[in-house]
Amino acid sequence: MGLDSGTHTLGPGDGTLTVLTGKGGAAAKAGHNLVIEVTRWSAKVEVEEGISMALMADPRSLRVVDGSGGISPLGDEEKQGIKQTIDEEVLKGLPIRFRSSSVHAAGSRLDVQGELELMKVRHPIEFALNVGDDGRLTGSAMVKQTDWKMKPFSALFGTLKVADVVEVTIDALIPAVAPVGERHG
């Protein structure tokens, strides 16, 4: 596993943090499956005797990069409209924070347990990540919105709904821990 001892700090310059949403309801055909990128986030991976992880994401930094399905393609105006809806009606600018409570390493696999704060609600979450020999961190977590007391967004009089479970994926290259001399410039 490509994780040196020390503190590794990651952000958008090191990879992508992405939210994938599905759709449901009688009029699901009218909606789009969305690929939403979190454009401002930071994560910290601390490797000492054990491993701990923390992540913060800016709730106003989500940007729709793709949408599939629907009765017509998503244009830039619609993508901007979704971002506005996320900002004003879904996440409302409230903090998104994760902190691990335990990280179990087995080969290249990390089984992570911790607590995610969304919409001022903290709820346990667990997921698996993979760290390649080259330091590439990949994996995904399934977030069931109602576990955080969120009401999945709906339209068309409730016949078109965002699926309750959204998938959050990370694909980033963990930067090497800077040598002591470099850390202090």
Binding site: A26, L156, T159
Partner: protein
């Protein structure tokens, strides 16, 4: 053709409800996203409805006309003829109201074509059903 039946309740006398459903300036805004553009006569209005589908929306513009009215039986038919603004589709409907004391029945016969219809008749029927249910809750407060 999609045909749907609904009931509504206002708790108000039949005469009050009769005046309300025949007043296009009052009844058209009871449809979510609906508004009167121009009242051409007591029984005819230019109107539009904007249907929001999350980030996407479709606007239908056309006329709403009282094409049948039986004051004794308290039965009226409102005919909607509209076109999809910026598209090729249309949405037409005959909405028949039959009033009784405190509320009434609504029978809707709708024909929808174009982009909206591409979702399939089952989906159109579900959305229309939800739209009319929402309409009936607003009618209750008219």
């Amino acid at each position: 053709m999609v045909e749907l039946d609904h009931t509504f309740s206002t708790g108000k006398p039949t005469d009050y409800n009769w005046d309300a459903i025949l007043d296009l300036d009052r009844i058209i805004p009871c449809v979510e996203g609906g508004k009167v553009i121009e009242r051409e006569s007591p029984s005819l209005a230019k109107a539009e409805i904007k249907v929001k589908m999350g980030a996407m929306s479709m606007t239908f513009r056309g006329t709403v006309e009282v094409v049948e009215r039986d004051d004794d039986a308290h039965r009226a038919v409102l005919q909607v003829k509209s076109k999809d603004v910026g598209g090729q589709g249309y949405a037409n409907a005959d909405v028949a109201f039959t009033l009784s004391d405190g509320g009434g029945d609504i029978h809707t016969a709708a024909q929808i074509n174009g982009k909206a219809a591409s979702m399939g008749e089952g989906v159109v029927s579900s959305v229309l059903d939800a739209l009319i249910n929402d309409f009936t809750t607003k009618l209750a407060k008219i």
